[in-house]
């Protein structure tokens, strides 16, 4: 990935809404052909960042260059080469799925015949060909989401910005979207996406940043982040009671460190089985024990002290 041309370059990028700072001086570089992710909890500033990259929201401070151009002065030229799937769908629910694509294509100056052909291909691509003539208000939320993704590709963009592309999709549809995005990447399209899902980030992203409170808490490939910020394995312990603090004290010294969650305790250790054996050796008899590989969720927990997806 090194040495690739930077398509997106942000230095000290800031977005303020009045007194409130949503994006607090971030440095980001996205190279040609890579899949880059923003991972973070609600309110981290992911969408605010995406909207600045999409040239629809002006930065309050810092530098930003997209495709080597200045978003403030060359917005339309940049947007012509971007595909955007916003967090909130903004399809026209009165029009059919197909009409949504053909009318949108026209905003990019795409000739009518080409627009129709591409609309059909894209509906096929997201497996909505059989619903081409359905009005959008008759489509399910997940179908609309796929239609929005299809719409973002109508101008054959160099960079696709996907703000939580798979939120609200059932597992099957998520896997379809992942597979499609993976295909796009293989064709050389640069992907920038935000997500709450670690598995999505691990599957799709070559590189990602963990955002929290408008700042970047860590950056790297999923593998690197896990190596740097977590142990190889994790032991999840449940005790069938709500007060877990007493157990935490008794577990001290097992593994490298320990994380106390409302419903369970996480033990970080390179050898999970050995750590679990040590727990039993101390006569703590947990009601549930699970040894698993460390994930980005653990990275996030370590960096911010909070879980990414509320499990309660």
């Amino acid at each position: 990935m090194d040495g690739g041309e930077a398509l997106i370059r942000a230095r000290g990028l800031v977005k303020r809404f009045g007194e409130f700072t949503a994006v607090d001086g971030i440095d980001v570089e996205v190279r040609k052909g890579e899949a880059f992710g923003f991972l973070g909890p609600n309110g981290a500033g992911k969408s605010s960042t995406m909207r600045m990259i999409g040239c629809v929201s002006a930065p309050t401070g810092g530098e930003l260059a997209i495709l080597g151009m200045d978003p403030l002065r060359q917005g339309p030229a940049i947007r012509a080469r971007l595909g955007v799937c916003p967090q909130e769908d903004n399809l026209d629910i009165e029009l059919t799925a197909r009409e949504n694509l053909t009318t949108y294509a026209r905003y990019f100056g795409i000739p009518r015949a080409t627009a129709r052909r591409r609309a059909d291909q894209l509906l096929e691509f997201v497996q909505l060909a059989d619903r081409a003539g359905s009005k959008v208000d008759q489509l399910s939320g997940g179908m609309r989401r796929r239609l929005t993704i299809a719409r973002s590709l109508v101008n054959e963009p160099d960079i696709v910005l996907l703000d939580e592309p798979t939120t609200g999709l059932d597992p099957q549809a998520r896997h379809l979207v992942w597979e499609r995005l993976f295909r796009l990447k293989r064709q050389g399209t640069t992907l920038v996406l935000t997500t709450h899902y670690m598995d999505e980030a691990e599957q799709l992203c070559d590189r990602l940043v963990v955002m929290d409170g408008g700042r970047i808490a860590a950056e790297g490939s999923p593998r690197e982040l896990i190596e740097q910020h977590a142990t190889r394995e994790v032991v999840e312990l449940r005790f069938g009671v709500t007060a877990l603090e007493p157990f935490a004290d008794k577990l001290a010294g097992i593994g490298e460190r320990l994380e106390l969650l409302p419903d369970r305790i996480l033990l970080y250790a390179d050898d999970g089985d050995a750590a679990a054996a040590e727990v039993y050796a101390r006569n703590l008899s947990p009601s549930g024990v699970l040894v698993r590989r460390a994930s980005l969720e653990d990275v996030f927990l370590h960096l911010t002290g909070r879980t990414l997806v509320e499990t309660g």
Binding site: P76, N90, I93, G109
Partner: protein, 254 residues
């Protein structure tokens, strides 16, 4: 390549193809009802009194052509614009493309202009058998209706882009549209207004449209020189457009 605003106009027309039937009542039946109801009933009464130097049906018909434009303009530039920001978020989708706010506004105004032209032309056809069209210049009346409609729609775009709830639009219909329609010489000459209210008629766009429509449909003169009426309406369109662009930009940035 066509101007980008044409793509926005096309988008609007794709929707229109679907629901045009629902618009017939509001844009066409209303003025026809006024024309028949007021024209026949009130007309007989007015004509007996001899207060006007032309038949009342002719007087009101020409005025209603301009009214048609304003009515469609008000409806199409209020709720649909607010909805495109607030509920369907259509403008946010457009803003992510190479379109500029000027293209979005121009395209949608173009659509409104089209709607007005069609409705005004249809209404003119209804007027003909009643002898309410007496000049070949009447062919220009739909264009005047478009102009006065856009003079109302453009500033309404700015207003609709500013507000958060449709309640304020209802207020606008009651306290701006209704008085404007009553006091702009559609149903009775502005000269009948109390001295104090007359400047209001001159200031609002509709009266200028009514004067021009009457001149076209009946082949008579206008109160002020034609270029002044045209220029004043053009000013409303231009200022409204600039305001709308600023409001759209601000709203889209949030």
């Amino acid at each position: 390549m066509a101007h980008p605003s044409v793509a926005v106009l096309e988008y609007q027309l794709v929707g229109y193809r679907r629901f045009w039937r629902g618009t017939v009542f509001s844009s066409f039946v209303m003025p026809v009802l006024f024309f028949l109801g007021m024209g026949l009933a009130v007309g007989e009464y007015v004509d007996r009194g001899g207060g006007l130097d032309l038949p009342y049906q002719q007087f009101i018909g020409a005025g209603l052509v301009a009214f048609t434009g304003v009515q469609i303009a008000m409806i199409e530039s209020s709720f649909p614009v607010l909805g495109n920001f607030k509920w369907q978020r259509i403008y946010y989708g457009m803003a992510a493309t190479p379109l500029r706010v000027g293209d979005m506004i121009a395209g949608q105004l173009g659509y409104i202009g089209f709607r007005i032209a069609v409705a005004a032309a249809a209404f003119l056809l209804v007027m003909i058998p009643f002898g309410a069209v007496t000049s070949a210049w009447a062919g220009l009346a739909p264009l005047v209706a478009v102009l006065v409609g856009l003079a109302v729609a453009a500033p309404m775009f700015a207003f609709s882009a500013t507000i958060e709830s449709a309640n304020l639009q209802a207020v606008m219909f009651r306290f701006a549209l209704l008085p404007m329609v009553l006091f702009s010489g559609v149903f009775f000459p502005v000269g009948q207004l109390p001295e104090l209210l007359r400047p209001l008629a001159y200031a609002l766009p509709l009266w200028h449209g009514v004067e021009l429509c009457r001149a076209a449909v009946l082949g008579i003169g206008t109160a002020w020189p034609v270029p002044v009426h045209l220029g004043y309406l053009g000013l409303w369109v231009g200022v409204g457009f600039v305001l709308a662009m600023a409001r759209f930009r601000r709203r889209l940035a949030t």
